[in-house]
Symmetry: C2
């Protein structure tokens, strides 16, 4: 009898359930639930829409996650046309750090009438950026105390991460802080809702809550130095027993079985993160092969045998991606976002008109023109920091630059230079890893961009000097979650006993490989040398013009706001 698994991928705007065949990883049916309350960034949802949010806030409604289970899972099963009884496991992946305060029984404080008008009771979405003052404090105190974990996170903790958000609650809403029995990743919270079992997965614990298998969480002395009331945040508000990726979290409760139409007792995998779960879905279970999730931003992951501090990593976590290996994560905060910005703001009508005539997307029209150029022909060089620099500089205050423009410069040339700049940024990450002894022999790309933009893939191959393959699935997060579900179920139930077996059976690459072109690579070596010089000049303190311009801008904006 065939067995199936379900992967549920919780994104920023919607949740997606996909039914996958355990035997070969085929996608049989899927369904998307667009969150009723989406990203909450102006006011709380009605009837509390008189409560306005400050800039940089981004919340979500935990009920939207439950509705994803209730609506998308049954719809995906129906679309797949399979018998729900043959579904042997469920796995979920989530954006991170997306966290919420809850009662000891799992009730979100947003669902408690006395708290629901307080924005701090709601889910703080990954892109909630209002906790920067707390992140600054977290970093400063860690530097002052010489906390050993800091170098493993590129020397800087993000405002997006767990303690920044928790500390903001303590700072701004101590009554919510006090009322919360738990601060928990939404990833773990939804697994708790499915199984009735509270777990903490090693991926978000490691990458977002500074946990390590060796040393656990930071000590209470450190937390006390942030705020005496914060000293015991781990013991009072969290959970010390971190469970490795790949374990079974529990089994589907009667209640959750009723929501989803699945059998009670169905295996549920420990929660995971959308990017990290893509690694095995992109066929990678061994060191030396980098997976890049390429979309609005890039997330780079590679497995290592040893732990090593690599400059500007987002983190390195044992069991963070696969059990028994060290998962290195780096990132570029703007990639597809930069191309979209350019198209939305600096591309003249003729390219839109040409695209319309040819029935293609304007990105495709620009790519077609850009592909007519050879490496170096535009004369342009860009720094890809229009959305800051995540790795390896870890600096949100940097900005973008385009150099080499002449009166002959045309939009497709700029478009190509932006693609090239993101490729140089990736090469910087690859080289930083290799310099620290973490090999990157080849690359597997997944996400939205690789399936759309062949020029981009070839440029990445030429710039990095590495072969690039593309994952066959266009839904690697959901596939990856389903693969972990098959491992949670185990071979005895029709799944697999480990992720290597699951990967061998369920994950495949497209029959499309990008090999570096020697001539282009030679030109890009020269351009990359220029990129590196400017990267260090503007990014490492020789000329902090970008930061001063930003400060001048912020002052001008304040002045304009005052009128």
């Amino acid at each position: 009898m065939p067995s199936y698994v379900i992967g549920v991928d919780f994104g920023t705007e919607s949740g997606r359930a996909v039914v996958i065949d355990v035997a070969d990883g085929r996608e049989l049916g899927s369904s998307v639930y667009p969150y009723a309350n989406g990203v909450i960034d102006k006011t709380l949802p009605a009837p509390d829409d008189d409560v306005r949010l400050a800039p940089e806030w981004a919340l979500q409604d935990p009920d939207d996650y439950l509705r994803t289970f209730q609506q998308a899972i049954p719809a995906a099963i129906a679309a797949a046309g399979v018998d729900a009884a043959s579904i042997i496991g469920v796995g979920v992946d989530f954006t991170a750090c997306t966290m919420l305060p809850a009662r000891a029984d799992g009730t979100p404080l947003a669902a408690v009438p006395q708290f629901r008008r307080n924005p701090h009771a709601w889910v703080k979405l990954w892109k909630h950026h209002a906790a920067q003052p707390e992140a600054d404090r977290i970093n400063q105190v860690a530097r002052e105390r010489g906390e050993a974990w800091l170098p493993m996170y590129g020397g800087k903790i993000s405002s997006e991460w767990f303690y920044s958000k928790a500390l903001q609650i303590l700072d701004e809403a101590p009554e919510i802080y006090d009322a919360a029995d738990r601060f928990i990743e939404a990833a773990d919270w939804v697994v708790w809702r499915l199984t009735g079992v509270e777990t903490r997965n090693s991926c978000t614990a490691g990458y977002k809550a500074i946990w390590s298998k060796q040393d656990g969480f930071p000590g209470s002395g450190y937390f006390a130095a942030l705020d005496p009331r914060f000293a015991n945040v781990v013991d009072e508000k969290m959970y010390r027993d971190v469970v490795s990726i790949g374990d079974k979290a529990g089994e589907l409760s009667e209640e959750a079985a009723a929501w989803t139409g699945l059998r009670p007792g169905t295996a549920v995998a420990v929660a995971n993160v959308d990017a990290h779960v893509s690694v095995p879905a992109a066929t990678v279970t061994e060191p030396g092969r980098m997976v890049i999730v390429m979309g609005t931003s890039n997330c780079h992951m590679v497995l290592g045998e040893r732990i090593a501090p690599v400059q500007g990593m987002c983190g390195v976590v044992e069991d963070g991606i696969l059990p028994g290996l060290f998962g290195y994560e780096a990132g570029q905060s703007g990639v597809g976002d930069i191309f979209a910005w350019f198209v939305d703001n600096l591309v003249p009508a003729e390219y839109f008109e040409q695209a319309a005539r040819d029935g293609i997307d304007v990105h495709e029209a620009l790519e077609r023109e850009a592909a007519k150029l050879t490496a170096g022909q535009s004369g342009l060089l860009a720094l890809d920091w229009m959305n800051g620099n995540r790795s390896v500089l870890v600096d949100v205050d940097l900005s973008g630059m385009i150099l080499g423009a002449t009166l002959a410069t045309r939009a497709p040339e700029v478009y190509r230079s932006l693609i090239e700049a993101t490729a140089f940024g990736t090469r910087m990450i690859v080289e930083s890893l290799e310099e620290a002894g973490v090999p990157v022999n080849d690359i597997v790309a997944c996400g939205g961009l690789p399936h759309k933009n062949k020029l981009l893939m070839q440029i990445y191959a030429d710039v990095t000097g590495r072969e690039i393959s593309v994952a066959a699935s266009t839904q690697t997060p959901a596939l990856g979650s389903a693969m972990w579900a098959a491992v949670a179920a185990g071979a005895v139930a029709g799944g697999y006993d480990d992720i290597k077996q699951a990967t061998a059976a369920m994950a495949t690459l497209r029959d499309e490989h990008y090999l570096p072109d020697a001539a282009a690579a030679a030109v890009y070596d020269r351009l990359y040398a220029e990129y590196k010089t400017l990267h260090d000049y503007f990014g490492r303190g020789a000329n902090d013009a970008m930061k001063r311009l930003r400060a001048i801008r912020d002052r001008a904006l304040e002045g304009a706001a005052r009128g």
Copy 2:
């Protein structure tokens, strides 16, 4: 009886004649003759259009200049409705260096049947850029020999200038070089045609042919070092008696009177250059007031009491602008050209649509949006070198840069940053002059841009910290030529005895003055400091990335051309 004068302004695409009232400088009528053969840059005109020109070539047909006299002057007189007998003088200004080879009697070699199929027989227009190898040789030999005049020209002679073009003729067409009795500026050639008298004006001689009142032309030893055949270029092909701006060149011949409908014997002024003749037309006859002709490029002129080497000047010439004073000239090679490039290549449809709805030009629509921003609010900083840098770096191989872009950057912000960058470039010139002891107390703008773009004028005032006035005339070259014609005629004939008197009577400013805003100026001081740092970093050798990118581009283009 009222007296009138005619100014004839020879531009790149057409010649314009304007009839001006001597009493008050009023423009009474004008006419434009578009050159029949325009800019000749692909093939020679028919029937010789099988002769193709190499890239970078730009020629003109000397007959187009005569047709300007024959058609535009009578038409302007008719339009003015004045009696031709009351016209007391004619003055001309020209682009420069625009030069041609001629016979001893003034016949252009292009009109000699045996030479007319040789492109070197034609007029080399100012923007003929094919003599770069010769310019390189001229500069190298001058540096090696320590020629004293080199620092007065910013340390570098342009491929556009007189000896570069003459030497190219010698290099590539020695038969034309031998056949030429004269190499002459078109400015002087047309005056020769009007009067029958060969003169060489001090303006083009000084700025384009390295003449100085004190030292004359470079010595034959220098020219011999370029090429032994070139040793006596001055004595064999030119004319040593340079005549000061403001003198009378001669009187209208019978032949030219018949062309134009003017009286034979009408005073004709010594020829001049379009930019330089604008200085008195912009009311300036004394040191301390800079005139900027603002259009596709900027030309900056200021008068000084003394000669001083100023870094990156185009030149400093005694009697070059006004008799008895030293005329300093500097320039920015891209200004309006840069705004036009941006609009043509990087502005999305919405601004064109908005402009169409409001019945305004797209530049005006962008300016309106840009004017809503305060200084510094865009967060952007640009280097205005999309067409190279004329002053003060004198480097055509530099290119443009835009720094500070974020995903929130919009087209009007970039537009404003480009305006600001050209203002910073002007401030760099102003400061270089003042550091060398040449004061710049205020600025008068003329040309096409000041009448169209108020935001630009205000930004220039804020950035330079100087009051900016605008010349009333929109045709300052033709007005200036007419003023010099009134001086050539003299008071006895109803004109003026010197240019100060003519200026007092004939030139006026608009009732519109731009004063620096203290708050904006303070912000721009900070942005200018950033500009200066990057100006020096990219422009003075610390990082020659722009040149290397250009070299990489050129190699890529060669590769692409080879296929």
